[in-house]
Amino acid sequence: MLLIDCPHCGPRAQTEFSYGGAANVARPPAPEETDDAAWIEYLYLRDNAKGQHDELWQHIFGCRRWLQLRRDVISHEIISCSELRRPLAEDGP
């Protein structure tokens, strides 16, 4: 079971968190001016990196903050866990 080091609350068990998917999916700032292809890309297409993966988790049973993790999805090792970068960087933390 993962131990996620919440930058706000400290190291906590995975069961306190909920998963939020890839962190490098930026919502187009002006959806109405976005063409179908780019909108579909945002909605559905994912890199699904095999290796280091940037992802969002919410500390749902803690501070309720959304956090940004970099995690090795082969070994499950968490490389970093940080406050959300605002605005979300396209290329992760």
Binding site: M1, L2, Q14, T15, S18, Y19, G21, A22, D36, A37, I40, E41, L43, Y44, L45, R46, D47, N48, K50, H53, E55, W57, R71, V73, I74, S75, H76
Partner: protein, 418 residues
């Protein structure tokens, strides 16, 4: 090639079983094939088999990076059903069900397809109503379905706690009598042997590391055993679909997640149907060898590790005891995981891609084992003709671009929620 039968078993038995031939050859890869299928799981092998059988394409290779059947085909809970709500899914899986019913003899390999019935339990009126809709839709698609009340469930699954005295009392359920289980490994082996017999080269320990393209489309694959040319490449690599597609520059609406499964120690027959709990995440059946085979939800985060964590296993155990408190003293023998390619709408993707000559068979989520025959059938058709079969026309990748996602659960574009 030996034909398998009771008589041949006896004949070889008398000779000490020294005369059996390999079930499949172990050929060196040729430099060129009419079609190359990446991934020696059930889907890749079935596709190769039907390419040869239905479309007369014999110069075909299946490239497997490890041992055939070692992916999700070798690690699933073996449930076969076609109890789908949406027409596009239902017709596709029902075609599969029909193929399953004749598969052992078609392949001359007993895949131990056991039509013991699949029950989805309902624990509320609302759930039962949803099952009514699903069951009616199934029936109108020519699929068997029966609505069960609590007594029916009790009669079908003796030993299940259907008393009103539990946290989630059983209200009833939806039964597909023709659903059941099959021996997972045998499916891979049976298809491999049958495809091999029709001339397909099954090449194990051969990892595809790149896909070559020219102006016309794909031209071949780079592998750990050298370049192999082919103008038709089919990807059937389950958890690795995104990686392989990316080699050809295609991004997919897929994330890889880990799904765990587990078996108990073997016991004498105690459970004759496949049961799915409706108030938590659990499906359970008993294998012919005697183990209870169980699974639940995905762990819920991207993963390429074929292993997961305790919370899901504990939840599955708790759900099992909610239905069968007497199993508390049975013991879990082994747990494992598989890498699932979860799509954004929970339905598979099978068909053409934007790259000419590149075909995709993936995104099977929890349910690709049961699809194996149908998937191979329509994928072979698509690869042979360049066009989707009527049964996978709605399952193609372009459905996302057309705003026609097939969201069976209505959970939206969160792959971990399907």
């Amino acid at each position: 090639m030996n034909r398998y039968s009771f008589a041949s078993l006896v004949r070889h038995g008398i000779m000490g079983h020294r005369g059996w031939k390999p079930a499949w050859r172990d050929p060196e890869p040729k430099t060129n094939y009419d079609a190359v299928i990446v991934g020696g799981g059930g889907h890749g092998l079935a596709s190769a088999y039907y390419l040869a059988k239905n479309h007369g394409l014999n110069n075909v290779a299946v490239l497997e990076k490890g041992w055939l059947g070692g992916g999700n085909t070798g690690r699933n809970t073996t449930i076969v059903r076609s109890n789908y709500l949406l027409d596009s899914n239902a017709r596709f899986y029902e075609h599969g069900m029909k193929l399953w019913e004749g598969l052992s003899r078609d392949l001359n390999f007993n895949v131990m397809f056991s039509q013991r019935g699949v029950i989805n339990l309902a624990h509320s009126k609302g759930q039962l109503e949803a099952f009514r809709r699903r069951g009616n839709a199934m029936r109108l698609n020519g699929i068997d379905a029966e609505l069960l009340n609590r007594d029916d469930v009790a009669a079908l699954v003796p030993g299940m706690d259907v008393s009103g005295d539990v946290r989630f009392p059983v209200e009833g359920g939806l039964l597909q009598p023709r659903g059941g289980t099959a021996r997972h490994d045998a499916v891979a082996w049976g298809y491999a042997r049958a495809a091999d017999r029709r001339g397909v080269d099954i090449i194990q320990n051969c990892e595809v590391t790149g896909i070559r393209r020219d102006h016309a489309g794909v031209s071949g694959v780079e592998t750990s055993r050298g370049f192999i040319a082919s103008k038709r490449i089919g990807l059937a690599v389950a958890g690795h679909s995104t990686q392989l597609a990316a080699m050809a520059g295609v991004r997919l609406p897929i994330e890889s997640h880990v799904l765990q499964a587990m078996v108990s120690e073997p016991v004498k027959p105690v459970l004759d149907t496949v049961v799915t709990f409706g108030a938590g995440h659990l499906y359970v059946s008993q294998s012919d060898k005697g183990e209870l085979v169980m699974g639940g939800d995905i762990d819920g985060y991207n993963s390429f590790a074929q292993r997961g964590n305790l919370p899901v296993i504990e939840h599955v155990a708790a759900c099992l005891l909610a239905l069968f408190p007497q199993f508390s003293r049975l013991r879990i023998l082994r747990t494992w995981g598989g890498i699932m390619d979860m799509t954004m709408d929970g339905s598979p993707i099978i068909g053409t891609t934007p790259v000419p000559g590149l075909f995709l068979n993936g995104g099977w989520c929890y349910g690709g084992f049961k699809a194996t025959p149908a998937s191979g059938w329509v994928f072979a058709h698509t690869m042979a003709t360049g066009q989707p079969h009527a049964l996978n026309a709605d399952l193609c990748l372009d459905r996302f671009h057309r705003g026609r996602a097939l969201d069976e659960k209505g959970a939206g574009p969160k792959p971990w929620a399907h």
